[in-house]
Assembly symmetry: D3
Homo-oligomer: 329 residues x 6
């Protein structure tokens, strides 16, 4: 496999001939006429095209957000910003492209599976293990789950992000469960099931988007539905009705409060543990992402803008090595 | 040391001769006359006295909430509730009593110190270790810290509760830090310092209460003040001014939002990690406590009342062994 | 069938020999000793028993909230309040009693069925009619639906209250749909399905209460689950997947906002119509109930207390006949 | 009367010679110089002018938002959007134009009057009928009321919108009143009076805007004031003081909550009915409007933007004919 | 005039023969039977009666909250609390009693009038002075205004409280106006008019209560109505329509926010000044009252309960004389 | 000193040769190419430069927000807006410029000092006077305090704004204290200390900005820290520990509520007075500022936009002279 083109690092003058993803098609107008700019990206990042003026429109007819395109061009500079002056551009059939090279990705997911499957094997409750196996021993489920992002544009918004997030939540939830005296197997089950509804509420074959059913029913209820459906499938129900209700409650209550989209609030210790572990992973990931948005900081230590994913807070990236021991210590 | 009297388990007719704590002095009135009931307790739990009628008042003259008393009496029953019919009661000097036998306690704290001190020794940053040592190598500080409760009437409201809570937050925060890529030493420092203000805002020599300065300044600011004060003491400042600000920020922002009493919101990754780890420990402990309030459930699985410490939620104590493997599995 | 005993109207001295429901068993204490009061009721209203003192306890051993009891006694008066001085009381087997005589009821429900079934027959969309028939042509469903209350203690908290509420919502929703240009058949389907989850989340065989699954999953999600289940039953799916999603969306969004317990907000015109029609029926019924609580008003026109079911508002019962035409008009 | 020019349907190249309304005068700047765009509209919709460059400014000197103008020009296209290239434009005196051709309108209002007046004639309470007649038998009032919009830019924002909204609220309120057992005549009176304050708080002679007194006092209080004023006029007061207070209460409380602008909350059943009927009409009309904004949906079923008039919700326009009966049914 | 009986200071054994006000008639029950306690008060404070048992009821037949009664009795003590053992009690005709001796009062109001009238005379704007004179030169208005309390049970809840509050708001508003550059005459007019609606929304002839119209329309709108009414009375309008609107805006917006009951928010500098001056007087008076509730503090400096009038805050009454200068200063 | 150039009043064609401050460096793009506009200002106001095109860039290399620059140019007009066509521009060393001529300023501050120092001399409590003197008798403190703005972009955002605000708060607080019976010396102390933290949380040497420590700790806590620090300095503590806590409480609670950034709420009467006086000065100043933004109003009396500093309210600038006495008065 050829090396991934490092878009953010290409110098002015570099020649480009590669497959990229159309992230956005922006129509702009000016007194001198209208023009179009394409936002192009791959897993390394993104770059804007030079303007396509009225006379260049035939080049880009039919090109839409989400298309994979074969591009030939050169990096130029305009007012201090690099742009990609496109010579040739053509749409590629979706089947012919490797999506993991075109969108952000968490990379190799096998390590996440190893961790999760290992923890899953430690479960000592037969009926619980059996329920989880309905999903996690199913190759189709694993195929989707290891690709799905954990959010559209927030935390872990990358291919494989949901799996990575799941491992994080599991690690945190196990620690919290130990401190709180919660039933560890049930907590792990909650972690493994809480976000399965995202497989039906997100679309990640190109640009990340909500599906219609994602808007209409929401990932919380979709997850509960998926569990209900699988539990009705086997000839013999793998668990009791009360056990099923406990698992559904874990899924439905994991947002913690009605106003965050959970139709019921956590009533069990395991549901409470799951909720806080989920929050801890999601919110700290968002802060980490914000701190990595270099252009948000300029030359200062405090971000020049407020981050929507931090509910409008700023971030501070001052650090210290706490270095030399104080004299005489 | 004699065995602790197990108040909740004493049968009717049992003879009592022991030291107890006066938790509450309740004046009640009835058409038949006024009477007084004492709520008496020790580390095992609590029991109400039989009424002291008008003619019994001389027995209890001068007895106040928070007093340790020597009691002789017998367990009787009234309308299905056990009560302690007191024959003799007298106030003991505070110095002569062992407080850990009279109030709820987390028990032996040495294991918590071992864990915390072990983690502290792993810190690789000399100036940071030095700052923490100003507190955690100070015997007076350790004496107080291992006794202080983590709250007056909520989570970890027991002697040593603050230390136990600190170990829990540390364990959780370390896991979250690993997932989020936060600086682990700084996170641990935040954990160790975030609640030190409670040493000045709580009083635990008998009944747990706020101090006046606890009301006037609050434990969040008191903690920051204590850090400032210690850092001004040594001949040579153990850390830089920017480092001091980062530590103060960790303390001040650990409640996460202004409306929860933090004058600033978390701006660093380490502050964000600390906030969520603190929450995860406190909130799941509250849920665990609620589930242990047996009398809140009656014969059902859902609590008959809403818990204030869960923001008005109920709790569910249904459980399952997820037992026998499903047939044919 | 004998006439229903009119509890609120019985004069002092009246002899009572009838079947009543135990609504509450209240333990009270006084300096003179403990005593028990039973709140007893039937469909006409409620009355308190005279105290059962310590020596009377054998009479009421084993009597619990929700029991139907055969009572012999006499109406007496105490401090201006009537009470039932009980001579004999014994528990009846639940099967032997007619519940509609013991709890509030909306009365004969056949008129509600006639209205609803009539409107249902006007539906012109075959697949939609078929889906509704899965429930509304099912005798078991009708048996439950015509008994279930619409709430535990709020609006339409009576046997048959859910059916009465459904007819009201349907009438209002049809009018709103006409004004707003919504699809009337789909609106009616939403009305008929929106509260079916209450059949599983309430218990009404005696005192009205939530079921455990009612607490764990909530009536909103339970209703969606019931629809999913029935739609999976028939050999051939009665509607398309998109149609199923639209119906599930109607159920899930009918509370209108996340903080009111809907995991998604209304996205279609029909869901919006359903939400406001449901609100209009529920809220105005609550105001009507408040105005009928005679003892809340004393001699004034403004209620002396604030009603919880009106979010803490008071009510005003001043009225006028707007009578004689003004002179010279 | 000549046919109304259908602005949204005019093809490129079409010649235009007609009276239009200036909805907005937009100053824009570009590196190539500043330019002006006029938003022009009539009752059929709106279209933007081609830019007026610096040299074209004399053409549009003195033209302001709200002016009626006589325009000659031609439809051209620029970057896929149609625009009106103006050759000649001149301001017309307001008296010479027919406003109903220039702004959105609900069309012929006589059917709304017929419905409302019919319902009004059914009122059986003499003094109430007399009060309503002070407004609804007054030609000046009717002249204004049948023109006033129901909002500036939200629901029923069209000439005659207030009258249409009133009929909708009346129809809904009558149905709700029947279900809730409210006094129907008083409810109708509330409907007819609740929004009369908009006659003084809106201006609709061209662009819809708030008046100064609309900002200073608000339509809720202005309506109450108008009622007070009229009731003071007749020689003999048409109703009692208590009756007047009930009517004022209906007007003042119809927003339902303080935070929505009602200085008092509904205390009577009739006020509660009015509030929910008003809401049902307004909110479902807003959803209907959103679903008609074709350009908000692109090619999808879910709107690409969130609607401010739906408090930031999206809308879904998927539909079905629920068509063929399922096989075998 | 005889001296006012100092109820809070009467020693046990003191003979009482005086006129008191019945503040509350409390029915209480106990196992020994029901009994009645009267809360009796005068302008100096309040005291509870000893219980009236069943056999004592004829003594108090017909006595209601708000009655003025002639009482003969003696101060006794019960469980450390003084009570008034009543020998004779009889209702007095309302006309025969001096209300200012029976309810809390701000005392002689002439100094407040002097201040306010003095400031009013400084007004230099003829039409404004004329409008204010419609009220403040009217003896009937002054008679009511100098008696009305400023609230039912919160700040300045005393006879004359509204006048005292008005002087305070005026003093503060004048200072704020000077700092903010607001028109001082208009600010004073706002102060004088903002609470006139309380004359119609409160009743103070005995116990302080809301009137029905106070509930139905609220004092904010009632005040605006009173102004409108007076302005319509004179043969020639004393001010222009725009001026009238500005005054109405001052009244209507003085609560500052919709959720506090103002139907419009302040749009002028004078309205903003009035709002904050009103708040400053009301809120600090509430804090002052709380600090004077001696029994809320016990022996501590922090109140043992949270005050509803401070939105649930506690209060601290620690003080210092900041006394001797520090040594060497 | 030469006269300050009156930027808002310069006519087209005027020659400019003066020192200005760079308030903003704006990069803009157009189809014709990118360009840069400088926002330039002095204490009189601000003006935009004409565009610097690609070829003009060398002129402005290295020029940043906050720089003082020497400018030669001429006022031209473009689309009705005046702009400064720059011929020569060069950066000046910060030391060489007089900041009070370049940024908004409250002007001569000596009158504010006279007032404040006068009031301070009236303090009769020796230890309190001593504490205040630690700051207000310190020339360094006075040097900073008389320059610091009271906010970055809100009320009193001018050099010397904090001092002016302090005088206003003091004047208001003294009046409120008198009405509420608060201790006047302590209130004055609170006024003088409440905002001292702004000296460390703001930067005003050019553009007004937050410092990093301002973001990390906030001005409320910074102020408390500054007081603690100074009180630890003298050989003998100038006040008792309890007195220190009361002063710290005044600073920490002055925002009144947790959600406004105070970690504790006011518990003393003096803290309550301070809070409302601070609010009254700040909020009315914001309204005054809004009314002075002439361009927000166009030709109307109601502002065409909502002001962020008024929480999204509009403002009304209608006024009257309340002029001629009404006829016959």
């Amino acid at each position: 496999m050829t090396r991934l083109l490092d878009l953010p690092a290409l110098p002015v003058g570099a020649h480009v001939q590669d497959t990229l993803l159309v992230l956005e098609v922006e129509q702009k107008s000016s007194a001198g006429g209208g023009y179009t700019v394409l936002q192009l990206g791959n897993a390394s990042g993104r770059i804007a095209s030079a303007p396509f003026w009225e006379q260049d429109q035939p080049q880009i007819v039919g090109i839409r957000k989400g298309h994979a395109v074969q591009v030939i061009g050169e990096i130029s500079e305009y007012r201090g910003r690099r742009q990609l002056r496109v010579t040739t551009i053509s749409v590629l059939p979706k089947e012919s492209v490797d999506l993991t090279r075109l969108v952000p990705s968490v990379g190799d997911v096998s390590r996440y599976w190893e961790t999760l499957d290992g923890w899953r094997r430690e479960i000592t409750k037969p009926r619980l293990a059996r329920v989880l196996g309905l999903f996690y021993d199913d190759d189709g489920f694993r195929h989707d789950y290891e690709r799905c992002p954990a959010s559209i544009a927030g935390h872990h918004a990358a291919l494989g992000g949901l799996l990575k997030h799941t491992v994080e939540v599991a690690a945190i939830a196990r620690t919290v469960a130990r401190a709180a005296g919660a039933e560890p197997d049930l907590v792990l089950a909650g972690v493994l099931l809480h976000d399965i509804g995202k497989l039906e509420s997100y679309r990640w074959d190109g640009v990340f988007e909500y599906t219609d059913v994602g808007y209409l029913l929401g990932h919380v209820v979709l997850g509960a539905r998926m569990l209900d459906l699988r539990l009705d499938e086997p000839d013999e129900p793998p668990c009791t009705e009360q056990e099923r209700q406990l698992l559904l409650h874990l899924i439905l209550s994991h947002h913690g409060k009605l106003e965050f989209g959970s139709p019921v609030t956590p009533l069990t210790l395991e549901a409470e543990v799951l909720h806080w572990a989920d929050n801890a992973s999601a919110k700290t990931a968002s802060m980490g992402d914000a701190l990595h948005e270099g252009d948000a900081f300029g030359e200062g230590l405090i971000s020049q803008r407020k981050f929507w994913q931090l509910d409008g807070r700023r971030a501070y990236r001052g650090a210290s090595d706490w270095g030399a021991p104080p004299a005489g210590a």
